[in-house]
Protein backbone atom coordinates (compact mmCIF):
# COMPACT_ATOMS: atom_id res chain seq x y z
CA UNK A 1 0.00 0.00 0.00
CA UNK A 2 1.37 3.37 -0.96
CA UNK A 3 1.17 5.96 1.80
CA UNK A 4 -0.61 9.10 0.81
CA UNK A 5 1.42 12.32 1.02
CA UNK A 6 -0.63 15.32 2.09
CA UNK A 7 2.05 17.99 2.34
CA UNK A 8 4.81 18.18 -0.26
CA UNK A 9 7.35 20.95 0.10
CA UNK A 10 10.28 21.40 -2.32
CA UNK A 11 12.83 24.19 -2.00
CA UNK A 12 10.32 26.54 -0.39
CA UNK A 13 11.82 29.98 0.20
CA UNK A 14 10.67 33.31 1.59
CA UNK A 15 12.77 36.43 1.34
CA UNK A 16 12.01 39.75 3.06
CA UNK A 17 14.28 42.39 1.48
CA UNK A 18 17.79 41.06 1.94
CA UNK A 19 16.74 38.68 4.74
CA UNK A 20 16.02 35.05 3.90
CA UNK A 21 13.48 33.93 6.49
CA UNK A 22 12.95 30.48 4.99
CA UNK A 23 15.73 29.00 2.91
CA UNK A 24 14.89 26.22 0.42
CA UNK A 25 13.17 23.87 2.84
CA UNK A 26 11.93 20.50 1.59
CA UNK A 27 9.89 17.80 3.33
CA UNK A 28 6.91 15.51 2.90
CA UNK A 29 4.20 14.76 5.45
CA UNK A 30 2.09 11.60 5.27
CA UNK A 31 -1.62 11.26 5.87
CA UNK A 32 -2.39 10.71 9.56
CA UNK A 33 1.10 11.64 10.62
CA UNK A 34 1.86 13.86 13.64
CA UNK A 35 4.57 16.12 12.29
CA UNK A 36 6.44 18.30 14.78
CA UNK A 37 7.78 21.55 13.35
CA UNK A 38 10.37 22.86 15.80
CA UNK A 39 12.82 25.70 15.87
CA UNK A 40 14.10 28.58 17.98
CA UNK A 41 12.21 31.89 18.05
CA UNK A 42 12.98 33.64 14.79
CA UNK A 43 14.09 30.46 13.00
CA UNK A 44 11.39 30.89 10.36
CA UNK A 45 8.69 28.51 11.58
CA UNK A 46 5.81 30.97 11.49
CA UNK A 47 6.83 32.28 8.07
CA UNK A 48 6.97 28.74 6.70
CA UNK A 49 3.62 27.89 8.25
CA UNK A 50 2.00 31.02 6.76
CA UNK A 51 3.07 29.89 3.31
CA UNK A 52 1.67 26.41 3.88
CA UNK A 53 -1.74 27.66 5.01
CA UNK A 54 -2.01 29.94 2.00
CA UNK A 55 -1.78 33.38 3.61
CA UNK A 56 1.72 34.31 2.45
CA UNK A 57 3.05 33.78 -1.08
CA UNK A 58 6.43 32.04 -1.28
CA UNK A 59 9.36 33.82 -2.97
CA UNK A 60 10.38 30.59 -4.69
CA UNK A 61 10.12 26.82 -4.50
CA UNK A 62 6.94 24.79 -4.48
CA UNK A 63 4.50 23.38 -1.98
CA UNK A 64 1.37 21.32 -2.26
CA UNK A 65 -0.96 21.14 0.73
CA UNK A 66 -3.91 18.73 0.82
CA UNK A 67 -3.59 18.40 -2.95
CA UNK A 68 -3.56 22.13 -3.67
CA UNK A 69 -0.86 24.51 -4.83
CA UNK A 70 0.25 27.26 -2.42
CA UNK A 71 0.60 29.80 -5.26
CA UNK A 72 -2.63 29.32 -7.17
CA UNK A 73 -5.09 27.44 -4.96
CA UNK A 74 -4.87 29.16 -1.59
CA UNK A 75 -8.66 29.30 -1.15
CA UNK A 76 -8.93 25.54 -1.65
CA UNK A 77 -6.16 25.03 0.89
CA UNK A 78 -7.99 27.13 3.48
CA UNK A 79 -11.10 24.98 3.06
CA UNK A 80 -9.14 21.76 3.50
CA UNK A 81 -7.23 22.63 6.64
CA UNK A 82 -7.89 23.51 10.24
CA UNK A 83 -5.81 26.03 12.16
CA UNK A 84 -5.37 27.09 15.74
CA UNK A 85 -2.70 29.00 17.59
CA UNK A 86 -1.96 29.97 21.15
CA UNK A 87 -2.61 33.61 20.36
CA UNK A 88 -5.85 33.30 18.49
CA UNK A 89 -8.25 30.44 18.62
CA UNK A 90 -11.76 31.47 19.61
CA UNK A 91 -13.72 34.67 20.22
CA UNK A 92 -13.68 35.43 23.94
CA UNK A 93 -16.92 37.39 23.83
CA UNK A 94 -18.94 34.68 22.14
CA UNK A 95 -20.23 31.64 24.04
CA UNK A 96 -18.92 28.15 23.35
CA UNK A 97 -21.98 27.37 21.21
CA UNK A 98 -21.77 30.67 19.36
CA UNK A 99 -18.13 30.05 18.52
CA UNK A 100 -18.97 26.63 17.15
CA UNK A 101 -21.82 28.07 15.09
CA UNK A 102 -19.62 30.89 13.82
CA UNK A 103 -16.73 28.70 12.73
CA UNK A 104 -19.09 26.07 11.34
CA UNK A 105 -20.69 28.81 9.25
CA UNK A 106 -17.32 30.11 8.07
CA UNK A 107 -16.46 26.64 6.86
CA UNK A 108 -19.78 26.36 5.04
CA UNK A 109 -21.37 23.63 7.12
CA UNK A 110 -25.16 23.29 6.93
CA UNK A 111 -27.24 24.33 9.95
CA UNK A 112 -28.20 20.73 10.64
CA UNK A 113 -24.58 19.64 10.44
CA UNK A 114 -23.43 22.46 12.73
CA UNK A 115 -26.04 21.56 15.30
CA UNK A 116 -25.11 17.89 15.15
CA UNK A 117 -21.37 18.60 15.38
CA UNK A 118 -21.94 21.11 18.14
CA UNK A 119 -23.79 18.63 20.33
CA UNK A 120 -21.20 15.96 19.68
CA UNK A 121 -18.32 18.28 20.54
CA UNK A 122 -19.96 19.52 23.75
CA UNK A 123 -20.70 15.98 24.82
CA UNK A 124 -17.21 14.66 24.04
CA UNK A 125 -15.52 17.44 25.98
CA UNK A 126 -18.08 17.32 28.79
CA UNK A 127 -18.98 20.99 28.30
CA UNK A 128 -22.73 20.78 28.92
CA UNK A 129 -22.54 23.17 31.86
CA UNK A 130 -20.56 25.86 30.08
CA UNK A 131 -22.03 25.62 26.57
CA UNK A 132 -23.68 29.02 27.07
CA UNK A 133 -20.78 30.64 28.93
CA UNK A 134 -18.54 33.19 27.26
CA UNK A 135 -15.32 31.57 26.10
CA UNK A 136 -13.38 34.38 27.80
CA UNK A 137 -14.56 33.14 31.19
CA UNK A 138 -13.12 29.63 30.74
CA UNK A 139 -9.68 28.41 31.85
CA UNK A 140 -7.02 28.49 29.13
CA UNK A 141 -6.76 24.70 28.96
CA UNK A 142 -10.47 24.34 28.21
CA UNK A 143 -10.32 27.04 25.58
CA UNK A 144 -7.49 25.27 23.83
CA UNK A 145 -9.31 21.94 23.84
CA UNK A 146 -12.44 23.58 22.45
CA UNK A 147 -10.39 25.44 19.85
CA UNK A 148 -8.81 22.23 18.69
CA UNK A 149 -12.22 20.56 18.36
CA UNK A 150 -13.51 23.60 16.48
CA UNK A 151 -10.56 23.41 14.09
CA UNK A 152 -11.73 19.88 13.25
CA UNK A 153 -15.39 20.85 12.65
CA UNK A 154 -15.20 20.70 8.86
CA UNK A 155 -13.26 17.41 8.84
CA UNK A 156 -10.08 18.97 7.46
CA UNK A 157 -7.37 16.79 5.99
CA UNK A 158 -4.67 18.63 7.91
CA UNK A 159 -4.70 20.65 11.13
CA UNK A 160 -2.01 23.26 11.76
CA UNK A 161 -1.37 23.88 15.44
CA UNK A 162 0.90 26.78 16.35
CA UNK A 163 2.09 26.36 19.96
CA UNK A 164 -1.33 25.09 21.02
CA UNK A 165 -0.37 24.23 24.60
CA UNK A 166 1.72 27.24 25.73
CA UNK A 167 1.00 27.97 29.41
CA UNK A 168 -1.55 25.16 29.72
CA UNK A 169 -1.41 23.06 32.92
CA UNK A 170 0.35 19.70 32.63
CA UNK A 171 -2.74 17.53 32.97
CA UNK A 172 -4.75 19.44 30.38
CA UNK A 173 -1.69 19.52 28.11
CA UNK A 174 -1.73 15.72 28.11
CA UNK A 175 -5.48 15.55 27.53
CA UNK A 176 -4.87 17.85 24.59
CA UNK A 177 -2.28 15.47 23.19
CA UNK A 178 -4.63 12.55 23.63
CA UNK A 179 -7.06 14.47 21.41
CA UNK A 180 -4.28 14.93 18.88
CA UNK A 181 -3.50 11.20 18.90
CA UNK A 182 -7.16 10.43 18.41
CA UNK A 183 -7.51 12.79 15.45
CA UNK A 184 -4.34 11.40 13.87
CA UNK A 185 -5.60 7.89 14.41
CA UNK A 186 -8.73 8.88 12.46
CA UNK A 187 -6.55 9.91 9.56
CA UNK A 188 -6.24 13.66 10.18
CA UNK A 189 -2.71 14.91 9.59
CA UNK A 190 -1.32 17.03 12.43
CA UNK A 191 1.29 19.73 11.81
CA UNK A 192 2.33 21.15 15.17
CA UNK A 193 4.85 23.59 16.64
CA UNK A 194 5.80 23.60 20.32
CA UNK A 195 8.43 24.78 22.75
CA UNK A 196 7.80 21.83 25.06
CA UNK A 197 10.45 19.30 24.11
CA UNK A 198 8.59 16.42 25.74
CA UNK A 199 5.82 17.13 23.24
CA UNK A 200 8.34 16.80 20.43
CA UNK A 201 8.71 13.19 21.56
CA UNK A 202 5.00 12.60 20.97
CA UNK A 203 5.37 13.33 17.26
CA UNK A 204 5.88 10.65 14.62
CA UNK A 205 8.54 12.77 12.98
CA UNK A 206 10.12 16.06 13.91
CA UNK A 207 11.88 18.73 11.87
CA UNK A 208 14.12 21.30 13.48
CA UNK A 209 14.63 24.68 11.83
CA UNK A 210 17.70 26.80 12.47
CA UNK A 211 18.09 30.20 10.78
CA UNK A 212 15.65 29.44 7.98
CA UNK A 213 16.98 25.96 7.21
CA UNK A 214 15.69 22.54 8.22
CA UNK A 215 18.75 21.14 9.97
CA UNK A 216 17.26 17.82 11.02
CA UNK A 217 14.21 15.74 10.15
CA UNK A 218 13.52 12.26 11.47
CA UNK A 219 11.68 10.29 14.14
CA UNK A 220 12.48 11.44 17.68
CA UNK A 221 14.15 8.09 18.28
CA UNK A 222 16.47 8.37 15.28
CA UNK A 223 17.30 11.98 16.09
CA UNK A 224 18.30 11.04 19.61
CA UNK A 225 20.45 8.18 18.34
CA UNK A 226 22.01 10.36 15.65
CA UNK A 227 22.92 13.15 18.08
CA UNK A 228 23.85 10.79 20.91
CA UNK A 229 21.31 12.43 23.22
CA UNK A 230 18.89 11.12 25.83
CA UNK A 231 16.15 13.60 25.13
CA UNK A 232 14.79 15.82 22.38
CA UNK A 233 15.71 18.78 24.57
CA UNK A 234 19.39 17.87 24.21
CA UNK A 235 19.02 17.32 20.47
CA UNK A 236 17.43 20.74 20.16
CA UNK A 237 20.10 22.46 22.22
CA UNK A 238 22.90 20.80 20.23
CA UNK A 239 21.40 21.86 16.92
CA UNK A 240 20.16 25.31 17.71
CA UNK A 241 23.14 26.39 19.76
CA UNK A 242 25.90 25.40 17.36
Amino acid sequence: MKEETVIKVEGLTKVFGDFTAVNKISFHVRKGEIFGFLGANGAGKTTAMKMLIGISAPSSGSANVAGFDVYTQTEDIKKSIGYMSQKFALYDDLTVKENIRFFGGIYGLSKARISQKSNLLIEELGLEKVAHSLVGSLPLGWKQKIAFSVSLLHDPKIVFLDEPTGGVDPITRRQFWEMIYKAANNGTTIFVTTHYMDEAEYCDRVSIMVDGNIEALDTPKNLKTHFGSDSMNEVFLKLARS
Binding site: G39, A40, N41, G42, A43, Q86, P139, L140, G141, E163, G166, G167, V168, D169, P170, I171, T172, R174, W177, E178, Y181, K182, A184, N185, H195, Y196, M197, D198, E201, Y202, P220, K221, S231, M232, N233, F236, L237, A240, R241
Partner: protein, 301 residues
Protein backbone atom coordinates in the same frame (compact mmCIF):
# COMPACT_ATOMS: atom_id res chain seq x y z
CA UNK B 1 14.33 36.93 55.28
CA UNK B 2 13.76 38.69 52.03
CA UNK B 3 10.13 37.99 51.21
CA UNK B 4 7.51 37.00 53.79
CA UNK B 5 4.02 36.14 52.57
CA UNK B 6 1.53 35.53 55.36
CA UNK B 7 -1.90 34.05 54.62
CA UNK B 8 -2.57 36.19 51.56
CA UNK B 9 -5.93 35.85 49.83
CA UNK B 10 -7.33 37.73 46.87
CA UNK B 11 -10.60 37.30 44.98
CA UNK B 12 -11.89 38.81 41.78
CA UNK B 13 -15.65 38.52 42.10
CA UNK B 14 -16.33 34.84 42.57
CA UNK B 15 -12.88 33.74 41.50
CA UNK B 16 -10.41 32.96 44.27
CA UNK B 17 -7.19 34.04 42.60
CA UNK B 18 -5.17 33.42 45.76
CA UNK B 19 -6.40 31.32 48.65
CA UNK B 20 -4.47 31.64 51.92
CA UNK B 21 -0.94 31.68 50.50
CA UNK B 22 2.07 31.69 52.81
CA UNK B 23 5.66 31.61 51.53
CA UNK B 24 8.98 32.73 52.98
CA UNK B 25 11.93 33.42 50.71
CA UNK B 26 15.42 33.77 52.15
CA UNK B 27 17.94 36.45 51.33
CA UNK B 28 19.76 35.56 48.11
CA UNK B 29 17.46 32.65 47.31
CA UNK B 30 16.28 31.74 43.82
CA UNK B 31 12.67 30.78 44.46
CA UNK B 32 10.31 29.46 41.79
CA UNK B 33 6.53 29.72 41.58
CA UNK B 34 5.60 26.80 39.39
CA UNK B 35 2.10 26.57 37.98
CA UNK B 36 -0.01 26.84 34.86
CA UNK B 37 -1.89 29.78 33.45
CA UNK B 38 -4.54 30.90 35.92
CA UNK B 39 -2.73 29.56 39.00
CA UNK B 40 -2.56 33.02 40.60
CA UNK B 41 1.12 33.72 40.01
CA UNK B 42 0.63 37.15 38.46
CA UNK B 43 -1.78 38.24 41.19
CA UNK B 44 0.82 37.34 43.80
CA UNK B 45 3.51 39.31 41.93
CA UNK B 46 1.24 42.33 41.71
CA UNK B 47 0.54 42.21 45.44
CA UNK B 48 4.23 41.88 46.33
CA UNK B 49 5.21 44.74 44.04
CA UNK B 50 2.51 46.92 45.70
CA UNK B 51 0.40 47.26 42.56
CA UNK B 52 -2.56 45.41 44.05
CA UNK B 53 -3.98 45.12 47.57
CA UNK B 54 -4.70 41.69 49.06
CA UNK B 55 -8.15 41.02 50.58
CA UNK B 56 -6.60 39.28 53.58
CA UNK B 57 -3.17 38.58 54.97
CA UNK B 58 0.06 40.50 55.07
CA UNK B 59 3.42 40.47 53.34
CA UNK B 60 6.78 42.15 53.46
CA UNK B 61 9.52 42.53 50.89
CA UNK B 62 13.11 43.41 51.83
CA UNK B 63 11.86 44.14 55.34
CA UNK B 64 9.16 46.59 54.24
CA UNK B 65 5.44 46.07 54.63
CA UNK B 66 3.61 45.95 51.31
CA UNK B 67 0.94 48.39 52.53
CA UNK B 68 2.58 50.71 55.06
CA UNK B 69 5.93 50.97 53.25
CA UNK B 70 4.87 50.59 49.63
CA UNK B 71 7.03 53.47 48.44
CA UNK B 72 10.16 51.98 49.99
CA UNK B 73 9.43 48.65 48.32
CA UNK B 74 9.13 50.24 44.90
CA UNK B 75 12.66 51.61 45.29
CA UNK B 76 14.09 48.26 46.36
CA UNK B 77 12.60 45.84 43.87
CA UNK B 78 12.90 45.12 40.18
CA UNK B 79 9.83 43.78 38.39
CA UNK B 80 9.61 42.18 35.00
CA UNK B 81 5.92 41.64 34.24
CA UNK B 82 4.73 38.82 32.04
CA UNK B 83 3.61 41.11 29.27
CA UNK B 84 6.32 43.16 27.59
CA UNK B 85 5.85 46.51 29.25
CA UNK B 86 8.63 48.71 27.95
CA UNK B 87 8.08 51.71 25.72
CA UNK B 88 7.83 50.26 22.23
CA UNK B 89 8.60 53.56 20.52
CA UNK B 90 11.69 54.33 22.56
CA UNK B 91 14.96 52.74 21.51
CA UNK B 92 16.76 50.10 23.54
CA UNK B 93 19.09 52.66 25.05
CA UNK B 94 16.33 55.22 25.67
CA UNK B 95 14.30 52.65 27.59
CA UNK B 96 17.25 51.76 29.76
CA UNK B 97 18.13 55.42 30.39
CA UNK B 98 14.48 56.15 31.21
CA UNK B 99 14.34 53.47 33.90
CA UNK B 100 17.71 54.51 35.30
CA UNK B 101 16.57 58.14 35.55
CA UNK B 102 13.25 57.26 37.20
CA UNK B 103 15.18 55.49 39.94
CA UNK B 104 17.65 58.35 40.28
CA UNK B 105 20.64 56.53 38.90
CA UNK B 106 22.56 56.23 35.64
CA UNK B 107 23.37 53.39 33.26
CA UNK B 108 27.06 53.84 34.04
CA UNK B 109 26.60 53.51 37.80
CA UNK B 110 25.20 49.99 37.71
CA UNK B 111 26.53 48.85 34.36
CA UNK B 112 28.42 45.99 36.04
CA UNK B 113 25.20 44.34 37.04
CA UNK B 114 23.67 44.30 33.59
CA UNK B 115 26.82 43.96 31.48
CA UNK B 116 26.42 40.23 30.80
CA UNK B 117 22.90 40.71 29.55
CA UNK B 118 23.09 44.11 27.96
CA UNK B 119 26.14 43.41 25.76
CA UNK B 120 23.97 40.98 23.83
CA UNK B 121 21.52 43.71 22.82
CA UNK B 122 23.92 46.66 22.79
CA UNK B 123 24.57 46.26 19.04
CA UNK B 124 20.89 47.15 18.61
CA UNK B 125 20.80 50.00 21.11
CA UNK B 126 19.38 52.43 18.55
CA UNK B 127 16.57 50.09 17.54
CA UNK B 128 13.07 50.74 18.84
CA UNK B 129 12.03 48.26 21.49
CA UNK B 130 8.90 47.35 19.51
CA UNK B 131 11.10 46.09 16.67
CA UNK B 132 13.11 43.64 18.78
CA UNK B 133 12.76 39.86 18.62
CA UNK B 134 11.19 38.06 21.58
CA UNK B 135 14.53 37.00 23.04
CA UNK B 136 15.97 40.52 22.79
CA UNK B 137 12.88 42.10 24.36
CA UNK B 138 13.27 39.74 27.26
CA UNK B 139 16.91 40.75 27.75
CA UNK B 140 16.06 44.44 27.57
CA UNK B 141 13.22 44.03 30.07
CA UNK B 142 15.58 42.26 32.47
CA UNK B 143 18.21 44.99 32.05
CA UNK B 144 15.59 47.65 32.82
CA UNK B 145 14.40 45.74 35.90
CA UNK B 146 18.00 45.60 37.16
CA UNK B 147 19.33 49.04 36.37
CA UNK B 148 18.65 50.46 39.86
CA UNK B 149 20.38 47.50 41.54
CA UNK B 150 17.33 46.07 43.31
CA UNK B 151 17.57 43.86 46.37
CA UNK B 152 14.74 41.68 45.18
CA UNK B 153 13.90 40.76 41.61
CA UNK B 154 10.39 39.66 40.56
CA UNK B 155 10.18 37.89 37.22
CA UNK B 156 6.72 36.90 36.04
CA UNK B 157 6.97 34.14 33.43
CA UNK B 158 10.11 35.53 31.81
CA UNK B 159 10.51 32.46 29.58
CA UNK B 160 6.96 31.79 28.41
CA UNK B 161 6.84 31.27 24.67
CA UNK B 162 10.63 31.39 24.51
CA UNK B 163 12.50 28.57 22.77
CA UNK B 164 14.59 26.07 24.80
CA UNK B 165 17.93 27.60 23.83
CA UNK B 166 17.02 31.13 24.93
CA UNK B 167 15.39 29.71 28.04
CA UNK B 168 18.58 27.96 29.02
CA UNK B 169 20.60 31.14 28.50
CA UNK B 170 18.10 33.10 30.55
CA UNK B 171 18.44 30.75 33.52
CA UNK B 172 22.21 30.97 33.32
CA UNK B 173 21.84 34.75 33.63
CA UNK B 174 19.60 34.35 36.67
CA UNK B 175 22.19 32.16 38.38
CA UNK B 176 24.81 34.85 37.87
CA UNK B 177 22.50 37.49 39.35
CA UNK B 178 21.87 35.26 42.31
CA UNK B 179 25.63 35.00 42.82
CA UNK B 180 25.61 38.78 43.21
CA UNK B 181 23.30 38.45 46.20
CA UNK B 182 19.99 39.38 44.61
CA UNK B 183 16.91 37.53 45.86
CA UNK B 184 14.89 36.27 42.91
CA UNK B 185 11.24 35.23 42.80
CA UNK B 186 10.49 33.79 39.38
CA UNK B 187 7.39 32.14 37.97
CA UNK B 188 7.20 29.66 35.13
CA UNK B 189 4.76 27.21 33.59
CA UNK B 190 7.72 25.04 32.48
CA UNK B 191 8.21 22.29 35.04
CA UNK B 192 11.72 21.49 33.79
CA UNK B 193 12.84 24.95 34.90
CA UNK B 194 11.75 24.20 38.45
CA UNK B 195 14.82 22.01 38.94
CA UNK B 196 17.01 25.11 38.53
CA UNK B 197 15.53 26.87 41.58
CA UNK B 198 16.74 26.54 45.19
CA UNK B 199 13.18 26.00 46.35
CA UNK B 200 9.86 25.99 44.59
CA UNK B 201 6.17 26.36 45.36
CA UNK B 202 3.83 24.29 43.20
CA UNK B 203 0.72 26.38 42.74
CA UNK B 204 -2.62 25.74 41.06
CA UNK B 205 -5.99 27.51 41.22
CA UNK B 206 -4.71 29.93 43.84
CA UNK B 207 -3.59 27.23 46.24
CA UNK B 208 -0.13 26.02 47.13
CA UNK B 209 0.24 22.30 46.55
CA UNK B 210 3.70 22.00 48.06
CA UNK B 211 6.80 24.03 48.95
CA UNK B 212 10.23 22.44 49.08
CA UNK B 213 13.51 21.93 47.23
CA UNK B 214 13.05 20.40 43.76
CA UNK B 215 14.91 17.31 44.95
CA UNK B 216 12.71 16.79 48.00
CA UNK B 217 9.58 17.34 45.95
CA UNK B 218 10.34 14.51 43.54
CA UNK B 219 11.42 12.28 46.42
CA UNK B 220 7.99 12.77 47.99
CA UNK B 221 6.32 11.17 45.00
CA UNK B 222 4.18 8.50 46.64
CA UNK B 223 4.29 5.61 44.15
CA UNK B 224 6.69 3.60 42.02
CA UNK B 225 6.48 4.99 38.52
CA UNK B 226 7.04 3.11 35.26
CA UNK B 227 7.95 4.03 31.70
CA UNK B 228 5.66 2.14 29.35
CA UNK B 229 6.10 2.09 25.59
CA UNK B 230 4.64 0.13 22.67
CA UNK B 231 4.36 0.26 18.90
CA UNK B 232 1.19 2.38 18.92
CA UNK B 233 1.05 5.12 21.53
CA UNK B 234 -2.60 5.99 21.00
CA UNK B 235 -3.71 2.39 21.50
CA UNK B 236 -1.35 2.09 24.47
CA UNK B 237 -2.88 5.12 26.23
CA UNK B 238 -6.35 3.75 25.59
CA UNK B 239 -5.53 0.32 26.95
CA UNK B 240 -3.64 1.63 29.99
CA UNK B 241 -6.58 3.88 30.84
CA UNK B 242 -8.89 0.87 30.55
CA UNK B 243 -6.71 -1.24 32.88
CA UNK B 244 -8.63 -1.88 36.09
CA UNK B 245 -5.68 -1.24 38.44
CA UNK B 246 -4.29 1.95 36.95
CA UNK B 247 -3.74 4.92 39.20
CA UNK B 248 -2.41 7.40 36.64
CA UNK B 249 -1.52 7.34 32.94
CA UNK B 250 0.33 10.34 31.53
CA UNK B 251 2.29 10.63 28.29
CA UNK B 252 5.86 11.67 29.11
CA UNK B 253 8.07 12.20 26.12
CA UNK B 254 8.93 8.89 24.50
CA UNK B 255 7.03 6.81 27.09
CA UNK B 256 3.86 6.81 29.13
CA UNK B 257 4.31 7.26 32.87
CA UNK B 258 2.18 4.65 34.59
CA UNK B 259 1.38 4.13 38.26
CA UNK B 260 -0.68 1.33 39.73
CA UNK B 261 -3.21 1.39 42.58
CA UNK B 262 -1.81 -1.72 44.22
CA UNK B 263 1.20 -1.86 46.53
CA UNK B 264 2.51 -5.15 45.20
CA UNK B 265 2.28 -4.23 41.52
CA UNK B 266 3.94 -6.73 39.18
CA UNK B 267 4.97 -5.22 35.82
CA UNK B 268 4.80 -8.68 34.23
CA UNK B 269 1.08 -8.73 34.80
CA UNK B 270 0.70 -5.44 32.96
CA UNK B 271 2.88 -6.73 30.14
CA UNK B 272 0.64 -9.77 29.72
CA UNK B 273 -2.47 -7.60 29.74
CA UNK B 274 -1.06 -5.26 27.07
CA UNK B 275 0.08 -8.19 24.95
CA UNK B 276 -3.37 -9.73 25.07
CA UNK B 277 -4.80 -6.36 24.00
CA UNK B 278 -2.73 -6.52 20.83
CA UNK B 279 0.18 -4.25 21.67
CA UNK B 280 3.64 -5.04 20.34
CA UNK B 281 7.21 -4.02 21.26
CA UNK B 282 6.12 -3.54 24.86
CA UNK B 283 8.61 -1.80 27.08
CA UNK B 284 8.06 -1.49 30.84
CA UNK B 285 10.77 -0.10 33.07
CA UNK B 286 10.91 1.55 36.49
CA UNK B 287 11.72 5.24 36.22
CA UNK B 288 12.13 8.28 38.47
CA UNK B 289 9.38 10.77 39.12
CA UNK B 290 9.88 14.30 37.83
CA UNK B 291 8.52 17.55 39.21
CA UNK B 292 5.78 17.38 36.60
CA UNK B 293 4.71 13.94 37.85
CA UNK B 294 4.51 15.32 41.36
CA UNK B 295 2.60 18.36 40.23
CA UNK B 296 0.02 16.25 38.42
CA UNK B 297 -0.32 13.84 41.32
CA UNK B 298 -0.93 16.73 43.72
CA UNK B 299 -3.23 18.54 41.30
CA UNK B 300 -5.37 15.42 40.89
CA UNK B 301 -6.20 15.29 44.58
Amino acid sequence: MSIRIDHISKSYGKVNALDDISIQVDQGELFGLIGPDGAGKTTLFRILTTLLLPDHGSASVAGYDIIADFKAIRKQVGYMPGRFSLYQDLTVEENLRFFATIFGTTIAENYDLIRDIYVQIEPFKNRRAGKLSGGMKQKLALSCALIHKPEVLFLDEPTTGVDPVSRKEFWEMLKRLQDKGITILVSTPYMDEAALCDRIALIQNGRILEIDTPKAIVEHYPKPIFDVGAHNTYLLIEKLNAYAHKHSVFPFGEYIHYTDQRDGFDPLELRTYLKNEGLQNIHIERTKATIEDTFMELAKQ
